[in-house]
């Protein structure tokens, strides 16, 4: 009986959490302007979403979002992995300072990160646009990469690296053949995480995107929603974003489950 109530409660909460998204997804397959008014199955919203007309800038926005996400994720992964190796080898006090600094962007609310970077760019007289958005995204993504790579370094047997050196490998070779393979799973998870964070971001982007007409998906949705409430084309768009994020998360989860299994087997 107790279990029945517990399960019912969980499912009710889940229904509340997923109902809005489900409604959007279902009504993305019909043409109606008003939600709740099913006017027959149609994929017209999906085609009109991508076929120009009023929403011609959407494709550019999607393109921008992906380019920004790929560049930010790649740079963050590189910077974060190198930093993780460095921080891992630091001594106690310096390590603590670096970890604290690394935590600031994660603890800061998005709006503060956005405004602080906005002030930085205006003070330095940098015109805001592509570069500033990418820099801002690297700023809030890299800490997460560091957090993904760090556990791999801690789990690694330090003797392996030294053994490689003892056996005559140059530091460069030891790095390439020993260290990088060990931290690679962490780097990949970090990359995917940074990628999702970048795609998802709104608050930081809006402050660093400038007024040159550059748009990402988030700012596009924001501008559109602000103009006309919930325009029909936002429904297929939200559905696509939801499905993409879902897919990426499943990939991350399978990866981490697999690596757990591997480390258990070892």
């Amino acid at each position: 009986m107790k279990k029945f109530f517990a399960q019912t409660y969980l499912w009710l909460l889940l229904a509340m959490l997923y109902a809005p998204i489900l409604i959007i997804a279902i009504f993305s397959f019909t043409e109606t302007k008003v939600l709740g008014n099913w006017t027959g199955f149609s994929t017209k919203l999906y085609t009109s979403l991508f076929s120009g007309g009023v929403h011609h800038s959407l494709l550019t926005a999607i393109e921008n979002t992906f380019i920004i996400a790929i560049i930010s994720a790649a740079v963050s992964t590189l910077l974060g992995s190198v930093a993780a190796i460095g921080i891992f080898n630091l001594h106690h006090k310096k390590k603590m300072i670096m970890n604290t600094l690394n935590n600031i962007p994660m603890l800061n609310p998005d709006i503060i990160t956005g405004i602080s970077l906005f002030l930085l760019f205006v003070s330095l007289g940098i015109t805001q646009g592509y570069t500033t958005v990418v820099l801002a995204h690297i700023t809030f993504c890299t800490p997460y990469v560091v957090l993904c790579v760090m556990p791999r370094l801690q789990q690694m047997n330090p003797n392996i690296y030294e053994a490689a050196l003892d056996l005559g490998a140059t530091p460069m070779q030891a790095l390439r053949k020993v260290l990088i393979p060990e931290i690679k799973p962490g780097m990949i998870s970090g990359f995917i995480l940074a990628f999702t964070l970048s795609i998802d971001d709104f608050a930081v982007t809006i402050f660093t995107i400038g007024t040159e007409g550059l748009e990402t998906l988030s700012t596009y949705i924001y501008a559109d929603a602000r103009k006309g409430g919930l325009t029909p084309e936002l429904r297929p768009l939200s559905t696509i974003i939801f499905a993409t994020v879902l897919l990426l998360l499943i990939v991350i989860n399978i990866r981490s489950a697999r690596s757990k299994k591997q480390s258990n087997a070892q």
Partner: protein, 265 residues
Amino acid sequence: MNWFIKTFSRRHNWSIPYLIFLLIFVVLPMLLIVYYAFHDADGNMTLRNFTKFITNAEAANTFVYSIGIALITTLLCILLGYPAAYILSNSELCRSKVMVVLFILPMWINILVRTLATVALFDFLSLPLGEGALIFGMVYNFLPFMIYPIYNTMQKMDHSYIEAAQDLGASPMKVFTKVMVPLSMPGVMSGVMMVFMPTISTFAIAELLTMNNIKLFGTTIQENINNGMWNYGAALSLIMLVIIFATNLFSDEDEANTNNEGGII
């Protein structure tokens, strides 16, 4: 040995590029907020930005109202989230891990998409947008952030305490209030942080959920920055930072305590 020291020093030096990056893109910008907050548009040192906030009824009211909304949201999230976390962490009541993933998943969906979905739900049920929608939207947006940390703490909790309390004759109610609640407090604290902080700092959500009728503090900050009132905007940001820092101190203290306890045991 020499070559080893060399490589070693080279490897810990690998943190230097990131340190420089952090100084330019994290530390310097934060200092700029402080600088702008205490200067006027001409670059003279002043406290006028803060006195303006205190004497300006609208901004101060928005501030108080935002804290109120954030408190209500946090409270509702605890009331809804605590039982959920309890059930999820209890293997007798819920065996599948998939449930946990289902609760965490919404954390990763774009906040604007989630907010638009709430607007869609209210449209669908033909309910009016306004304060009710705002609170529902906030709870809907941030509930997973409450459930997850509480679930995590309960998961790590030593269940022999509960069994011991039961063996020693405590009633289920007593077990809950005297054992469960105190032990899960660290999770509740970090949940409170993860809900209270974003609720007080969001700006687009309130706009969309109330058709721009209700303004929250985040919106005020954004409007000022957008209208070129950087100094005033920076001062408001600083006020928000101080509040967040203060709440952070609370939970930090708590966490430090539990860490110590864990260490002793």
